[in-house]
């Protein structure tokens, strides 16, 4: 089952981390080459008819007004159409979604999607400068953690979600990340490490937060009926959805869910004709430990308020009933905004094709029904979300 008008035939990722020795351009080139060179039956770049670049933070690498040419102009594809997408935390997944729309429109048979972000060419203080930007009163002090945190506090208050349960997410994902050669963080941590880490923004300690990371990822999308030209094991786009919410945090009706996620998931499940019970795995947005807990609920993995128990009971670990963030998630890989969504597609591509054992056999999840879910949520006011469903089922 699924929409399946577009297929993913190849992906490329670079090792995420503090890449002080790599420029934005080098990251993009490496991800692109990793992608096209890994395509099973070979790939001619001339087949690419359009491209999308997901990138948010252009001022940090010197481009006053970055355009899509920052991608095509650097990889020998100057000439083809290329659109830059900037759309908060779902930037990469939204670039991917636009690539799907481009192919499904019938205008382009083969497109390239690259997500990339230089987060480390900026100081941490500068990243926090969102706290001074936007509305000078209503948004005063709003950083990434301080926009997620009030919802975490309310969730803990209403449902009894505990700091320990938040820590369990971080411990699970850091254990998975230790098995992922592309991950920024490569070391496991303990519950005590998380609980004792310095407070960043109540209730998030340092280890409840994803690191500040550079990264890039690439994907080739083709018309589904052309997929076999490139691989015998294409991964189909079974469905996708995107939801938005009100812009200011005080305008949220509920502080125990992200409506944008709920809306995106509803569209994606309907488009694919499946439900959460059909998933073999999910790569979800865990910028902070608690975010993954609310994701479980918003994406329908468990009932409202049960997210804390879901991780506590081990359902989301590798080998559990629905492994979540087998890649290590954002907590391990980091969150280079443009790259994150595309990198999640890479992980799902490898997992669904059962190719993870080439990297580390312990990280491969069991593929039974052939569906994987990708999810991002964020942007100012945590007001947009993308959900993508990938499938090996034709």
């Amino acid at each position: 089952m699924g929409w399946n008008k577009v297929a993913l035939v190849g992906v490329g990722l670079i090792k995420f981390g503090e890449l002080f020795d790599k420029s934005f351009e080098e990251m993009v080139e490496e991800a692109y080459l990793n992608c096209i060179n890994s395509i099973d039956k070979g790939f001619d770049p001339k087949d690419i008819k359009a491209a999308w670049l997901g990138e948010c933070n252009s001022r940090t690498h010197g481009h006053a007004s970055i355009s899509g040419a920052a991608l095509t102009g650097n990889i020998g594809l100057a000439g083809i159409p290329c659109t830059r997408v900037e759309n908060g935390c779902p930037t990469g997944s939204d670039a991917f979604r636009n690539g799907c729309l481009g192919v499904a429109s019938g205008v382009y048979d083969v497109v390239l999607v690259v997500g990339a972000e230089k987060m480390r060419d900026d100081s941490t203080a500068n990243l926090l400068n969102s706290a001074t930007r936007g509305h000078p009163v209503l948004m005063r002090g709003e950083t990434a953690p301080s926009q997620f945190a009030p919802l975490a506090v309310r969730h803990m208050y209403e449902f009894g979600t505990t700091k320990q349960q938040l820590a369990m997410v971080a411990v699970k994902n850091r254990a998975n990340g230790a098995l992922d050669p592309y991950s920024h963080n490569q070391s496991p941590i303990t519950i005590e490490d998380v609980l004792n880490s310095p407070m960043v923004c109540l209730p998030f300690g340092l280890f409840d937060c994803c690191p500040q990371t550079d990264g890039a990822a690439a994907a080739i999308l083709v018309r589904a009926d052309l997929a076999k030209k490139y691989t015998d094991k294409p991964v189909y786009i079974a469905g996708f959805g995107m939801g938005t919410d009100t812009f200011y945090i005080h305008e949220k009706e509920s502080f125990t869910e992200f409506v944008a996620t709920v809306r995106a998931a509803k569209q994606a499940y309907a488009m694919a004709g499946i439900g959460p019970q059909d998933l073999d795995l999910a790569e979800v947005h865990d910028c902070f430990s608690w975010t993954e807990i609310v994701d479980y609920e918003d994406l329908g993995f468990c009932p409202k308020g049960q997210g804390g128990k879901f991780v506590e009971q081990g359902h989301s670990k590798i080998g559990g009933k629905l492994p979540v963030n087998a890649s290590g998630g954002l907590l391990s890989k980091g969150h280079p905004l443009g790259a994150t969504g595309v990198a999640q597609m890479c992980e799902l591509f490898w997992q669904l094709r059962q190719e993870v054992p080439k990297q580390n056999p312990k990280r491969q999840v069991a593929i039974k029904k052939g569906y994987g879910l990708q999810h991002n949520v964020g942007g100012r006011g945590i007001s947009n979300s993308v959900v993508t469903l990938l499938s090996i089922n034709p």
Partner: protein
């Protein structure tokens, strides 16, 4: 009968430093304490809260005010009026007469006299006079140990006055003592003994004696005597020479607990007295600043019983206090700053001046746009011309409730340059009218903050760019 005081209101910041703690830092001593502004307070924010209290206590509305005159020696800007922001925040009419009186801690009394004249001349019906100051002395000096912060506001008019103003006598010379030049943060003095004898003592004594002579009264005719109090000693010397008893002046003895609050000093002493005064009590009040002194003969009327503030009065502000150490004091007043330049306010170019022009009424007065179709209160209304809940385009402008309960919150421990008050609480509260609002929290400790607690809006500096403050409302824990 001439104009008098219809109502009064005070404001004293929450923080105190013991003079002993300032003394210790410099190898000295000290007794008593000073009030200290928070990071997000200045002459304007203090004046707003005192004025809100005064207007409420007087029984008029802000729209009734024909003038607001502010007296201060520590306005946030050398050039840029402070009073417009105060008037807009209070919700006054734009036909109002506004004026800043400055350059001396006696500026507030100059403002008072001008306002009385405007009323007596029939030019305005009601006026608001404010004394607000948070002057600073240079670190390690006696002035540093003496400076406090406070604001006091009086609503003036005719009719049901709580205080009649019987007579004012002024004495002014070319004497020059305390100064603060353009670009300087701290006040300076030349020679204490010279200032004492030829400045404060001579001027205050002369103004007071001349008033008594002029009015044909004895000092014993006055139940209370209120002096400007730049320290704990000057006014006692004058009191001795004109035979004022401690019974007459002790009720107005604010210096030991507040310090030298400049333009608010004599006003605050008067407010402290009025909280206890009875109808028929006569009060002598004497100001001083920069070579000029005014002596006022005042008579308390029957109205005092009804209009005396029962809450948010001198005593309640005096007791709502928290002690800070010397290092924290230096950070509060801006002597010590966190390193790094704060980022600009970002894209689109919301300079403080532009945004406060576009959005000042709704941000300062907390006005929302109530949808005529679904009833949802959109905030900020200038940005929401289409109801975010239902898409309707017709609204009623409504004032948000001033109090609410915490729905949820967070506390940021890591913030970039430009954030002095860390950890910084961010509060999402459900107001008493059902409207949900978000604002930074102030004067609440992390361990105090809980979901469900009562909070109230308080007018503060929210951010600063290029030395220009953006004012708005923060939440503090609700007070009596």
């Amino acid at each position: 009968m001439g104009a008098g005081i219809l109502g009064y209101g005070v404001y004293i910041p929450k923080f105190r430093i013991k003079r002993e703690d300032i003394g210790k830092a410099w190898g000295g001593r000290g007794k008593g304490e000073n009030s200290v502004t928070n990071y997000n307070e200045d002459v304007i924010t203090m004046a707003v809260e005192a004025s809100q209290n005064a207007v409420k206590n007087s029984g008029i509305t802000p729209a009734d005010l024909g003038a607001i005159y502010l007296g201060t020696a520590s306005a946030p800007q050398i050039e840029q009026s402070s009073i417009g922001t105060i008037a807009l925040t209070l919700g006054c009419k734009t036909t109002i007469d506004l004026a800043d009186f400055g350059a001396s801690p006696r500026a507030s009394v100059a403002a008072l006299k001008a306002c009385l004249d405007a009323i007596d001349a029939g030019r305005i019906k009601y006026g608001l006079v404010i004394g607000s100051d948070c002057r600073l002395g240079e670190p390690g000096t006696e002035q540093e140990s003496n400076m406090g912060a406070a604001a006091v506001a009086f609503v003036l008019g005719k009719g049901d006055v709580v205080v009649q103003i019987e007579k004012i006598h002024s004495y002014a010379t070319a004497f020059r003592d305390v100064w603060r030049a353009d670009g300087q943060q701290y006040i300076h003095i030349f020679e204490p003994r010279f200032n004492r004898e030829y400045g404060y003592e001579r001027h205050v004594r002369t103004a007071a004696s001349d008033l008594l002579k002029d009015a044909g009264r004895n000092i014993t005719d006055f139940k209370y005597v209120v002096f400007q109090q730049p320290d704990d000693r000057l006014h006692r010397t004058v009191a001795k020479s004109i035979k004022v008893t401690s019974e007459q002046m002790d009720p107005a003895n604010i210096f030991p607990v507040i310090g030298d609050c400049g333009s608010a000093s004599m006003f605050l002493g008067l407010a402290a007295v009025l909280d206890h005064a009875q109808a028929g009590d006569r009060i002598l009040a004497v100001s001083y600043g920069s070579g000029a002194s005014d002596a006022l003969s005042l008579m308390v009327s029957q109205q005092i019983e009804q209009k005396r503030p029962r809450e948010h009065n001198y005593q309640s502000y005096l007791t709502s206090k928290e002690y800070i150490d010397y290092t924290t004091f230096l950070r509060h007043v801006g002597t010590l700053k966190k390193p790094g330049k704060p980022a600009d306010l970002g894209i689109p170019a919301m300079t403080p001046l532009l945004s406060s022009y576009r959005q000042a009424p709704e941000l300062l007065q907390l006005l929302g746009g109530k949808c005529q179709s679904c009833g949802y209160v959109n905030f900020p209304p200038s940005e929401h011309r289409i109801c975010i809940r239902c898409g309707h385009t017709k609204f009623d402008r409504v004032a948000l409730a001033r109090r609410g309960k915490i729905h949820t919150y967070t506390i940021a421990y890591v913030l970039p340059p430009g954030f002095d008050e860390t950890p910084l609480p961010m509060i999402i509260a459900d107001l008493e009218d059902g409207v949900r609002h978000r604002a930074v929290g102030t004067e609440m400790k992390p361990e105090q903050i809980k979901i469900g607690l009562d909070v109230e809006f308080v007018f503060r500096i929210i951010s600063t760019e290029d030395g220009v403050n953006v004012y708005g409302n923060a939440f503090r824990l609700a007070r009596k």
